[in-house]
């Protein structure tokens, strides 16, 4: 049999446009697999020459799903350019906004994008394997998902004025304080949403048994894990130290977060616009690591909210070292939803949350600034250099999906080797190849506009380009 390539283009139910190609050897076994990100944005280049204070709003335009994450990392980099310590309540309100973002994004990922596979099965009819099929099959679960995402989006709107691309986070703090009315509305919604999160966790834990094969084969291999932890080693999404943990569960190192250029490096591959980052001391590929909810729950020493702490303890019993299967990203997301709700309640219950001192003002005092925070999908890093007038001369962004890129590629290869055999394509087989990518919830900047309808088309071709088999979405 000649060498063949299977192309899955586009990959569906992820944030952005990409494709997967699987290369078969002469016996029809999967030899190589690539995850190609096929969109090019150029944000790091076209922001050059813009004043630093425009950066949070400009960078938020990278994405329509996680604009808040870019706002926060960008504003933190600008805080460094100003060389200010922002008021404590500005930190608190930024934390609440970031957690609301994590809540809505995780709800989107779990309920809208992945639950259809989990509820209806990987082999179900693709025409129904979506959130609307979920609504037909399990209306209560779908309703819960809609409510959780809606609540996260509402918090963002109540705090920052609008749900998508708010401009409320600014260099030096936030633009306006929290009102008592907004605080009460947010706090009033927490108990209902905690109930929803608990139901979803119960449901998922019951379903896990059905997915033993996926747990075994979905990017289940040793890597490092990286993310922010609090100074006390506990779960943290806004600030702290950057921790690397090995697959055995041993802390490799704790670093000052803003010193990341010293221990992280990036490489480019010819098959994708997405750069791959790795841990410098171990080089590439030994320094491959994962970030995001799974990594965050692996690297920490504890959780400082009661229900999430209990869930985390149960989660950590899945493995003796780090929890390695990327299938458990889903599980980790649900635990982080519980945490986000509890933490928002904790932060807003303090009377200081209504403090009106929420912004520090200064001129340019540093030629360089670095901002690091935890986005829903993992650690987000913004690094800027400015001239004496505060105009951007250079910018570098390392996003969660770049941190995870090498692991995602290895994950696609692992799952393809497990499920794809010979030259006959089945929907369930291909869905599993896509589904491993979905566990990472990559964000390929969904703000890119797509005209018309996109369909999934898979082609199986010989190495000479001969079309051997095709598969289309209905």
């Amino acid at each position: 049999m000649p060498r063949q390539t299977i192309v899955i283009d586009p990959v569906t139910r992820i944030e952005g446009h990409s494709k997967i190609s699987l290369h078969l050897d002469e016996e029809g076994h999967v030899e190589e697999a690539y995850f190609h990100v096929t969109q090019f944005r150029g944000f790091e280049k076209f922001c050059e020459g813009r004043p630093y204070y425009e950066m949070p709003s400009l960078m938020a335009r990278i994405c329509g799903i996680c604009p808040v994450s870019h706002l926060i990392a960008s504003a933190k980099a600008c805080d460094q350019i100003l060389a200010v310590r922002i008021p404590p309540n500005a930190v608190r309100l930024r934390q609440v906004l970031n957690l609301a973002q994590i809540l809505q994004s995780h709800a989107l990922s779990f309920f809208y994008l992945s639950a259809p596979d989990l509820l209806l099965g990987m082999d179900a009819d693709p025409a129904t394997r979506n959130v609307f099929g979920l609504a037909e099959a399990n209306p209560a679960l779908a309703k819960d998902g809609v409510r959780l995402r809606q609540f996260g989006q509402q918090i963002i709107e109540w705090l920052a004025g609008k749900r998508i691309h708010p401009a409320w986070v600014v260099p030096g703090g936030v633009a306006s304080p929290l009102t008592a009315e907004s605080r009460e509305r947010i706090l009033a919604g927490i108990p209902e949403c905690l109930g929803i999160a608990a139901r979803a966790l119960d449901w998922f834990k019951n379903e896990m048994e059905r997915f033993r094969e996926e747990i075994r084969s979905f990017a289940n291999f040793p890597t490092l894990f990286m993310g922010l932890v609090g100074e006390d080693g506990k779960l943290e999404h806004y600030h702290g130290k950057l921790r690397f943990l090995d697959a055995g569960g041993k802390v490799v190192a704790d670093y000052v977060d803003t010193a990341f250029p010293e221990y992280l490096a990036e490489i480019a591959h010819p098959w994708t616009y997405l750069k791959t980052s790795f841990y410098k001391p171990l080089g590439y590929p030994d320094g491959v690591y994962r970030v995001g909810p799974l990594a965050r729950l692996n690297i920490i020493d504890g959780v400082d909210t009661p229900r999430a702490s209990q869930e985390w303890a149960e989660f950590r019993e899945l493995d003796r070292g780090a929890v390695l299967s990327s299938f458990y990203f889903h599980y980790a997301r649900l635990i982080e939803i519980v945490y986000a709700l509890e933490k928002i309640e904790q932060l807003l219950s303090a009377p200081e949350s209504l403090d009106v001192n929420v912004r520090a003002r200064a001129n340019v005092n540093n030629g360089e600034g670095i901002g690091v925070s935890e986005a829903p999908r993992g650690t987000l890093m913004h690094h800027y250099k400015v001239d004496a007038d505060g105009l951007i001369t250079w910018a570098n962004l390392i996003i969660a999906t770049g941190h995870n890129n090498a692991a995602m590629n290895r994950g696609v290869l692992q799952v393809a080797r497990h499920f794809v055999h010979g030259n006959r394509l089945t929907e369930g087989m291909l869905n599993r190849v896509e589904a491993v990518i979905r566990t990472f919830d990559p964000c390929l900047s969904c703000s890119t506009h797509a005209s018309g309808r996109l369909a999934l088309e898979v082609e199986l071709r010989s190495h000479e380009g001969e079309l051997l088999d095709t598969c289309h979405t209905r």
């Binding site: 809208y112 994008l113 979506n130 609307f132 037909e136 209306p139 809609v146 809606q150």
Partner: protein, 152 residues
Amino acid sequence: MSHTLVIGYGNPLRGDDGAGYMAAELLRARLQNPAVEIVSEQQLLPEMMQGIAEAKLVIFIDASVSGRTGKFNRIPLRPAPTCGRFTHHASPEALLAGAQALYGHTPEAVHYLIPGRFFEAGQEMTPSVRRAVNDLVETLAQELDAVTEATG
């Protein structure tokens, strides 16, 4: 289930694609009727299903890639539980079906489509498309001005 909901959607940073969004914005400025709720969003989202289920009539407004520019078309809508595989946005038909499945009610619904010509980056709409937006806003303002919560 006593009010009218208007949802105008599209990307105002992509030329004529923003026609539906702009129509909703202009209608909000033009119409002062508490029985009419007007929403402008970049895209339709599953979170809208609850609000849709609570309305008596829903008017969706969007740009379309086909049709004669300078006009708008009115199309009745029926629930249809289908959607593409990019599932964090949705069609009006799927939202109506979802409203029925999740919240037990689907309202009467119509779709106004405004044909566009240019969908590239930029905030300017083609003049004929802008005229069609203004005409639609005028038509809807007159139609909805008399709507009351009691009669819907």
